[in-house]
Every structure is written in C-alpha cells, then in structure tokens.
Symmetry: C2
Subunit: 481 residues, 2 copies
C-alpha cells in the first residue's frame, strides 16, 4: 500500500529521542557556567560550518543532536547563564519549558474558543489569577469589563494598545478610512523604542509620537505632558494615547502613573502602562507603590518571559474595556464563523491581537505559577532585588564609581568616574572574557553600565564575582594608564 510508506517519527522513536533531548537540556543546565557567556564566534562562522544544500535524504536524530552540540552551541550567547546581567533578562525554568513542551505536543491552534476551548479558558483563568497576584485593578478581570490575553512581546502589546487608543479617539473611523496625519501619541523620552516602532506601524508617524521630557530620575514630567497635550489640541491635532513606563529599559525609571493617569482622564486619552520587566516585582506587595495610580490605566502589560521564569515568548496584556480592543481588531470571515462565537458566550482571542493563529501559551504560565506558588515566586524576586541593592551599595562605597540613576529594583546603572572610554573598555574586556555579560546605555549623555539581576539561577556568588571582575578590570586599567 503506497500510503503506508512513512518518514514520520513514530511515538516510540519520539519517546527515545525526546528523552535524549531532555537529558541534553538537563546537562546543559548543569554545565552552563562552563561556557563563555557571550559567544566568541565571528560573523559568518556558524554558516560556514553548515552544508550549502539541504539533505536529499533524511538523517538520523543522533546526527542532529551532535550538530547542536558541535556547530550551534559555540554560536550561542547564554541567556540562561547565571552570569548573564545584560539587557533585561529572558529567564526560563523547568516548569516553564515543560509546559511549553506540552503545548508543542498537543499542537492546538487556539484562534477561536471553539478550536480548543481549554486553550482559551485556561488563558483567561491564569490572566485573572495574575490580576490578583500583581495587585492590578478589578476592571482588568474577565468577570468585569476587561480581560487579559497572552501576546508574544511587549512590542506587539504596545501596537494593540496604540491601535485601540487610535480607534477610540476617532470613533473607530481610522480603521475604515485610514489615519489622517493628525493623530498624536505620547511617551517619555526614555520609553522603549517599541513605542516609536508602534507609531510607525499604526500609521501615526514617529514625528507624531511626542517624547516628553524627563526629570532628574529619568521619569516622565507630568507638567510637560500636560503642556504638550494642550499645545497639540490648540494646533488642531488629535491626542489619542499615552504610554507610561513602570521601569524603563534604559535605567528602570518609574513614570508617575497617578499624575499621568489624571491627565489622561481629563483629556480622555488611552493610558497604556508598560511594566515589561518590573511588572514581575508587583508579585511582592512592598513594591506596588511603584505603580501607584495603575487603576487609571486603560491597558497594562508585563513579560513573564523576562523575570518570571516563563520561557520566551509570554507577554501578559490587559485592557479595562475589552469591547474597545475587540472592536479595533475584530474581523469575521465566513470560514471562521461558528455557533460558540455567535452565542457571545465565549472569548475568541484572535480579536485581541495582530495574529490570527495562536499556540497554547497559558500552559507554561500555569505550570510556572503552580510549581513555584506565589510564595516561591516572591522569594526569588525578593532575592534578586536584594542582590541588586547589595551591588548598588558596593558601587556607592567605592569612590572610583558612581550610581548613574536610582536603582529601585533589580537594575543597577553605574559608571566608573574615569569617563566614557574607560567604561567602554571595562565592559568590552569583561564581555570578551566570557566571565559575565553586561550591556550599556547613555544617561545624561554619558556612557553608563547596566547590571540587571534576573536570570533564574543568579545567586549571591555570581553578583559578588561580577563586582570583583569589574573592580579588577578597573584596577588593571589604572595600572596601564
């Protein structure tokens, strides 16, 4: 029978190869500190090791796994190393990885409630759990006027929030007629670059995203925001959206949400709160003062894939008024019509984001929350903050160094007082050594080093060693100078 010939992996082969992959990952976790954190390969080096053409015949699974070890691993920068202090983290954990594996294994596509009810309902349920866990307003609950959805990244969530704000401000006319070049949006001069990208994507234009000046702590100045909105209205423009950040990427600055929210309410502007990394800290009641005023937000998002042990991608996005979001993004072709949708009794998440198709992302988030419990999550977040604060203290006590910005949580911005070149050299030497990975920003025009404590397995000894390595490099460079 011609149809019985098969190149597929059988369940038994899957079992055997799957165990091998799990073992490889467990071993990787055990030896991750033995690799240089930053890959040392040169541009083109990985590609040069790969065959120019795809194989005509299939290859053994063992050959694939061997190539991962020999050809791919040298080109990996180890985001899961406890010595990774760069950017914001993108951490992971066993329960997250295994929840995601189950999602791959079930292979459901949850675009509609009816295409896999559990995919939608578990997501709604976990998003409701998180509203309570993070001290977010009741209106974000699915049982209220709002609701939450898992998106891929904060960039996509920002696009959706901006679109909803755009549509609400134009009475849903931009969706039909297109933008008119007169819409204006607002974010702080320190907001994430994804806001500029969102303004470009949404047809608003980067020049119509006003970058509001910040105060000495790099937080948005509400008075400057209010003045700019007034000026734009005077000029006949249509303000539609404000993004306030709980923890900017550059320096972890905290915009004053309450003051910004009052201004938005006065002008009926959509307020989006971006807490991409720092949102995880809100698991701990003692940090929630940093998002005071969040009850004024129309939308909010944070990334469990940054600091909450849930492997990429997992962005949690809530809105206070789900009708506004759905009206902005809904389309209903005949081939997606079904009774459940038409009954109005269910959520169809394809109307909550850009994509149509979607995977069963809530499994990994559910696994993480249940594995750790609220207590376990809080423990590790507090520990990361404690270690970052300790590091900030060491910086302050060494008179060659200075803090470059307040360090409210787990990001420390600091610099050697010797100037940009010296700081760049310290960072380059450390990163090239492979011992740890730091990145930089510019604050007040000065090169600033950033150390972010958030990788799942980062402990006291890793932070201690980071500080030792930084001081060693500074000592070495002083000798040379």
């Amino acid at each position: 029978m011609p149809d019985e010939k098969s190149f597929h992996m059988t369940p038994d082969e899957f079992r055997r190869h799957g165990h091998a992959v799990v073992d490889w990952i467990a071993d990787y976790q055990s030896r991750v500190e033995s690799f240089p954190v930053v890959s040392k390969v040169k541009p083109g080096e990985i590609r040069a090791s790969l065959p120019a053409n795809p194989p005509a015949q299939g290859e053994s699974f063992e050959a694939l796994l061997k190539d991962v070890e020999q050809l791919i691993l040298p080109g990996v920068t180890h985001w899961q190393s406890p010595n990774f202090f760069a950017y914001f983290p993108c951490n992971a954990s066993g329960p997250g990885i295994l929840g995601d594996l189950l999602s791959s294994g079930l292979g459901v596509q949850g675009m509609l409630w009816s295409t896999s009810p559990a995919c939608t309902e578990l997501e709604t349920h976990v998003m409701d759990w998180l509203v309570r866990m993070l001290g977010l307003p009741e209106k974000f609950l699915s049982s209220s006027t709002g609701g939450g959805v898992i998106q891929d990244t904060a960039s996509s969530a920002a696009v959706c929030a901006l679109l909803a704000g755009r549509e609400r401000a134009t009475n849903y006319a931009s969706n039909r007629k297109g933008c008119n070049g007169r819409l204006v949006a607002y974010a702080s001069a320190q907001a994430h670059s994804s806001l500029e990208k969102a303004a470009m994507i949404a047809g608003i234009g980067s020049e119509n995203l006003r970058l509001i000046e910040v105060d000495e702590n790099f937080a948005m100045r509400p008075d400057a925001l209010a003045r700019q909105i007034e000026a734009d209205k005077q000029a006949g423009l249509t303000p539609c959206f404000v993004c306030a950040t709980v923890g900017t990427t550059s320096s972890n600055a905290m915009d004053p949400i309450a003051a910004i929210g009052e201004i938005c309410r006065g002008h009926k502007l959509w307020l989006h709160v971006d807490a991409a990394m720092s949102g995880t800290a809100m698991l701990c009641p003692e940090f929630r003062h940093l998002q005071e005023g969040v009850e004024l937000a129309d939308s909010y998002n944070f990334n469990p894939h940054k600091w909450m042990f849930t492997n990429f991608d997992c962005n949690c996005f809530w809105v206070a008024d789900r009708r506004a979001l759905i009206q902005t993004l809904s389309i209903l072709p005949e081939y997606l019509r079904n009774q459940a949708t038409e009954s109005g009794a269910v959520i169809d998440y394809r109307d909550w984001h850009i994509q149509l198709g979607r995977r069963f992302r809530s499994l990994k988030l559910w696994f993480v929350i249940r594995h750790y419990g609220v207590e376990g999550l809080r423990h590790h977040i507090r520990e990361h903050v404690r270690l970052a604060q300790q590091f900030a203290g060491w910086v302050q006590n060494d008179n060659r160094f200075e803090l470059a910005a307040p360090a409210p949580l787990n990001l420390v911005c600091f610099r050697h007082k010797g100037g940009d070149t010296l700081n760049q050299t310290i960072m380059d030497r450390i990163n090239r050594s492979g011992d740890l990975f730091l990145t930089h920003t510019k604050l007040n025009g000065k090169l600033t080093l950033r150390l972010c404590v958030g990788q799942t397995n980062t402990k006291a000894r890793h932070v201690e060693n980071a500080w030792k390595r930084i001081r060693d490099e500074a000592n070495e460079l002083q000798k040379i100078a």
Copy 2:
C-alpha cells in the same frame, strides 16, 4: 545563607519530569484517535474545574501532569488527530517538537546577531535552503538583494509586507508623518481576512483595501485589478500594495501571479504573494506551475506550521529587497547598539518584523528538513494531494454531491446538492460525533463543506472513513426527510 533557599526545579528534577512529559506526549500520539476530534465541552466548563485562586505554595509536578490529563484534555480539539480535516491544518512532527524543545532549553533571545549569532545565522541559512527547495527566485537569497526571516504567522508577515509597500510608495514618509488617508491596497475578494486586518493596523483603512472581483474559479481577475488601479490613480489616490494568493483559505483558489505581477511592475506596486498553506506543495516541482510568475514578487510567505510538519508558530517570509523592509522597521536605541551591528556585516532580525524579542525558531525547521530530507517531505505532500484528489473523485462520482471549486492540491470544497440546511446538518452531525472535523465556507452564496488533507498522520483509511461518514449522514438525512 538566605540566597541558597530555592524553589527552582533542579537539572535532575528536570530530567525526571521531562521524561514523564515526553512519555505523556508519545502516549498522546498513540491514542489521539481515541478522542473525539472536536471537544465536547460547553462554554465555561473548563474554567469551572479550576481553582479560583492561584496556589500560595508550590505543587508537585505530578499534580500538574495529572491535571493536564483530567482537566485540560477534555477541552482540547485535536488538531493533531489524523481525522482533523478542518480549516487549514496546523500539523506537527517529532523532529519539529524536539527542535522547539531545544529552543526552549537554550532560551536564547535572538533580537540581534550579537545576542546569539547561531540563532540568526541558522535562520538565514535554512531560509536560503528553502528558496531552492521551493523554486523561489534567486533574489530572495541572503546572498542576493533579499533574504528570509521566520515570523510567527502569515498575518504578521502581511502587516510587514504592507508596511514596506506603504513606505516605498511614500518615500518612507508615512513612517515619520503618519498616513494621509489616500493610500490604497489591493487583494482579491477571496483573500484572507488578515489582509483587511493589516490595512486597519497599518493606518490605511479597510475601505482603502480594494477587494478585486474573482473569476469563476475564485481567482483574482487581473483586468479588474488593472482597472481599479487606474481609477484610483485618476482619483488622485496612491496605490501601494497588492496581495496575490497561492491557495486562498476559502477554496484554495490560485491567483494568476504572472499577470498580476506585470501590472504591479507597470505601476511600481509592492507585490506580496501569500502561499500560507499551498507554499509547502512547491517542494514538489510538478506543483510549481501554480505559482508561475513568482519571480515578480517583492515578498512571499508560507507557513511550515500548516502543512510542513513544523509545529506552530513558524511562518517563512522573504523579501526581494531587504533594504526596503529594514528601512521600514528599523529603530536603534542606544541600549541595543553593538559593534557587530555597526560593522554592517550581520543581520539583526529585530528590524525584519514587528516584535523586538525573538526565539530560536529555526532549530525546529532545521530539524524537520534534516529528519525528513527533501525526499521525505515530498513523499508525504504528494500522498496528501493524492488522497485529496481521490476524495474529489468520489464526490464527482456520487450524483448527490458536487465539487464547489477546483481542487488543485489538498483542499476539496464540495456540497450536497440538497441545499444549505442539509449541508449544515451533515457537518454539524459529523463534528458532534467526534469522528472527524470538517469546516465550511460560502462560495457563490452557497454553504460549502471543506475537507483539507494535511495532518501529519492522515492516511488513506482516514480519508476513506471521512467519505463514508459523510455519505452515511446524507443517507440518514434522506431517510428522515
């Protein structure tokens, strides 16, 4: 030492629990046919089985896996059942799932070349392989003027293509100043709903997406397209983008790419070719005539997560001129600056899509291609097409039924001649039985059943049984009538 307390899963625990999850998935694969394909739960039923509050303390992994089996599984519609013939497939395979597991385990975030060189270079390499494998034009190669990138879905790819067309038509001014309400885009009246959504997102407006009439085979009429473009230009509007579809979602209609491409070239419009499902068929040279003229495309995309055994999400998107795409989507804040980017010697994929962060998606695609080899992939695609053609023959030979559209590949659109109500009843009864899953569309105003052969493990007996079940229901309903 306070920092040594840990709630994390250790590598040894990961090994043990990981084996259990792999075994669970292998068992699921073995017993998938024992479940009703369409979940029988009612709205709210899954949520009602879940605790209202998250656990304060962590739970055992065994408890999680038990809940997947007992609480989640009843709410799953089994996209991986060989009796799944609905929508377009979203198939998967062992090598795809395990490649994705490695991606989760490595946990790299490949926004920049420098944040994990292997993540970028393997992706570029595999995308170049696929250009040859699918008979796509040389200009899509990274070694030429173009290049490929893995996106999540065809919806996101459509947004990116539309944005690039928008920017090229406005000399990159819309990005800065916003849209002006005068841009126009084109797709067939049978194009995917994501095009309408993309026009809304991009600030062009759904009313400015012209839905061009189709011929008797549901393919776009080039003459109608040409007339509409002329009319829009006469009206002082700015045409910027055309989407042509290789295999529409509704009926698998094939737009005439060559004729559409010539029109686009004449008017300097961006031509995007959407081959979301049918692109996989181009692995087989005998089907490539269906995309004749593809060398005129500015961008092209297909979804290995639909029909090429690569689990969701995996969309392959190519452009002929990478500079146009990058100029459309690029942003460069200080905290992402690095030497590799500034050298110009590397690709930074964050400038090729909406998101900033990205996972190591090419691993699963690489695993699939190497596991099957080109030969293995072709074998299974040909077999799916053969089975669909056989089904179409059965429909034609039963005088109670008719084909509703040509069936060039693996989708068969058909109906009982007894009218909409009868077809709806046949479909509802079959889907409720759990034996298989069909969905519908409307063609020429008539309800039409769709049977798509594309699930990884669908074999002759599954298609034979589908036809038997459809005839049985028709017989039964005739008796009642």
